[in-house]
Symmetry: C2
Subunit: 543 residues, 2 copies
Amino acid sequence: MYSILGGSNALASSSKMTIPARRVLAAASSRAQKRSFSSTAPAREPSNARNLQTQTQTHIPPRPDPIFPCVDAHSARATRVQHRRPPFLPAAHIPPAAATSQGKTVSELSASEPGAGPEPAYSFPTGYETYHHSEPFELSYSTIPLPAFDLAYETWGTLNADKSNAILLHTGLSASSHAASTAKNSAEGWWEAFIGPGKPIDTSKYFVICTNVLGGCYGSTGPSSHDPSSPNGDPYATRFPVLSIFDMVRAQFHLLDYLGIDKLYASVGCSMGGMQSLAAGWLEPDRVQRIVSISGTARSSPGSIAMRFAQRSVLMADPNWNRGFYYHGQPPHTGMKLARQIATITYRSGPEWELRFGRKLRDIPLSVSSADGNPNLEGRTPTGARVPALCPDFLIETYLDHQGESFCLKYDANSLIYISKAMDLFDMTEEALADLPFQSRPRAAEEHQTHGRQRQPLSLSPPAAYLPSLAKGLAPLRDIPTLVLGIQSDILFPVEQQREVADALRMAGNHQVVFYELGGVWGHDTFLIDVANVGGAIRGFLH
Amino acid sequence: MYSILGGSNALASSSKMTIPARRVLAAASSRAQKRSFSSTAPAREPSNARNLQTQTQTHIPPRPDPIFPCVDAHSARATRVQHRRPPFLPAAHIPPAAATSQGKTVSELSASEPGAGPEPAYSFPTGYETYHHSEPFELSYSTIPLPAFDLAYETWGTLNADKSNAILLHTGLSASSHAASTAKNSAEGWWEAFIGPGKPIDTSKYFVICTNVLGGCYGSTGPSSHDPSSPNGDPYATRFPVLSIFDMVRAQFHLLDYLGIDKLYASVGCSMGGMQSLAAGWLEPDRVQRIVSISGTARSSPGSIAMRFAQRSVLMADPNWNRGFYYHGQPPHTGMKLARQIATITYRSGPEWELRFGRKLRDIPLSVSSADGNPNLEGRTPTGARVPALCPDFLIETYLDHQGESFCLKYDANSLIYISKAMDLFDMTEEALADLPFQSRPRAAEEHQTHGRQRQPLSLSPPAAYLPSLAKGLAPLRDIPTLVLGIQSDILFPVEQQREVADALRMAGNHQVVFYELGGVWGHDTFLIDVANVGGAIRGFLH
């Protein structure tokens, strides 16, 4: 006899099944195509808690050993990774044995993408340009400057003669410079539908620049980069300094200097890119003519810090993380998978999953074979009945599992930690800005004339206590037309924070603030998906 | 010279500091009392991205090794755990060497609770009664019954002569039977303020029973319990069968039989207890005279499954978990800590943390010494300047860290996994209920007369597609007065789900549904904290 939960041991002992169990399994088999959990159902006639116990035999055989394919996946991945180098690791850091098979990357080992669903493309950038900054670069939180840095970037469109049509595009946490396909890299970018001739950011009119942020792992200097002070040529790892969003943007201004671009037509960004977009306006108000901040914030909230803290915690607890010094060994792929699962929860919304997955179970073919020729019993009994498992079962679980698995070797764990921390540290209240070692570069014509009547706050609730300080912090942006856009289903950068940015700008005297709130169920990721509404707002604002 | 990020290595090399660094540190020291991050601030005069790079020297010394006290905490805990048994482990399962020091439990090793904040008490139950069920117990998802089970329970008040004043109280995921202090156990219970003479659940009128659920680890049979089919007397571990909420409640009805209680004055529960409360009404509509469901649901949503999946994933990825077979070794305390951090995020709300913590940093004394006599440099330079760290820094981070640390050895990891999974599986739509091997026990007088006009749905949005099926599933509860209460800031059991329960009951013909929505910032945990509003609603309904 065996449990409906049985694994391979159960199959081996199936010849010992008692009659009642056989009857159950036969009944279960007839319902095997149903997309719901089958029950033991020895008796379908009305029964209740008080009489069920009398229906069964007294001899209880041992329960079979459980199976956990979702846990096995971690060790299986570890075995695969040993033979192929993670693509974010510079070849110089790979021990010779591993480097011999560098033709393929581990990303090719990921499970295939489920067809349905609006997931953005995630591809490794190739064919980007690199700006090399050879002089020491001061940082917000470290007395030791970065001795030099690289910044990977890509461009779309043509810079016009007077260099007045440049748009600097800022990315979210883990994105590369590959926002859209180029002649050098035809792969779809993360904002493919938004950038191109005739698209919301129209490259027949604008020259668009996108960088991999400082601290990243897609061509720009970050923790995985060579530490010039290391005698062995080791990467910085966690000797890399803590960065600020302002440091990232200051590095981008050096690139603009190099490109000879004095004024930006616009600074555009979503999520962390929205923070950068505001930071650019603050650092160099005279060089930024328009700001777009979508699903960003001017002050990271404790709620969003909590979500990022949970991700960093699981990552840093992975023994492979090894205090950040994993570049000669296995990267913390399990921690990265777990962190990405958590992140994905914050990127979407419950209502989306309700519409997309509901309580549907993953599909398990009635007859599947494992490599050793035995039936794969995960989630089904040998007769095909569907039973609950502790590993992913509901489609929402397989979705999160897949998102984690797809990402866990595509990005450097230390880059994730450092950039995530930089987001936590971002705070444009006057009080916090005063602690930075650099200040806003004032305009030539300084005195600002407040004109018109005071605007009412957008929030229906009493404004946050820090709003006046935020307004003072954002004062340098008061003459820059700014588009602020938020999503009502966003749980990571809630729409209240978007109203706050708009309110603070208007309190600072900015009379050119455009503010939109979007509905829909896509949560924080709306900016990657909703071309009609997000793209339309950008197009209208940039015109 | 050294970085402002420096650890103990940094101190050792401080005599080699260059003059600019010394100047920086002196400046930083003068601001050390500020509750914000200090900057490197070599020059506080106006500067910008383009000229900062010229202010610094070209020789770049090696960066110091980073320190990670939050990671060290995991291995330190592992060392401590080796000498003291986790309290949820039955003594029989402890190897002899470890059992010698069983006088103290690891809970005593937890960090002290921060004084501020409305955290409920969490204490190990002692002095509970145990109901032993000696006959096999059929289960929802397994062909093998449980051969027997124990159910730990406590009671408050006095059962009256006709046994008509009994209230069955159902717990949340990880709570014990110790809902309030008793003569046998004077420690505060998890609902201390709600239960007692004159309190919302008035024990001068009612006889209150609370159990540790089946699957738990506080006296009831669960994965950590002895598996009678094991020749070595091992615990079930993950050979334990997957349970349903209905199984838990059916076990409770056996306890009621034993106590001679035929009818419940009320079935009351919050969170998972709300699920159980509804399940009790469905299983035995004739035995349940009133239902209270607070922050529960009649159908787990994919959003809440996602949150619980993330917790189970980090727990099962802990190597100590060992597929659930850890009872002879170290429990997965790191995975438990990480899981609890995630859980805590879902129990509260961003607005609460904004009010409670804002962006405040943890307090680090200017002069603290480590065990070896060296200054503790975590978070401060030797001169006292406050710098960002990758380990917990903001109060919200230390709060989550502390919640995880306090919990990680107080509860059995397998119990968490099984009960969390049972919550995911809970679904009272007609379609899902049809798959259970037991059905609702119909009332004697079956035909229900629908009277009065059709109620309008409480939701402002179009109702979910499954609402009619939920109404059919809840039909057996149509004659039971039911209190449904939800919290607008709850992200785990959103208020929409509470409206759904109320709507489905009313669609089923229940004309005695009381529905409240509460504001406030406490999120899901409101039921533990808000005595005035939650307690008041219960008192008014039970009267």
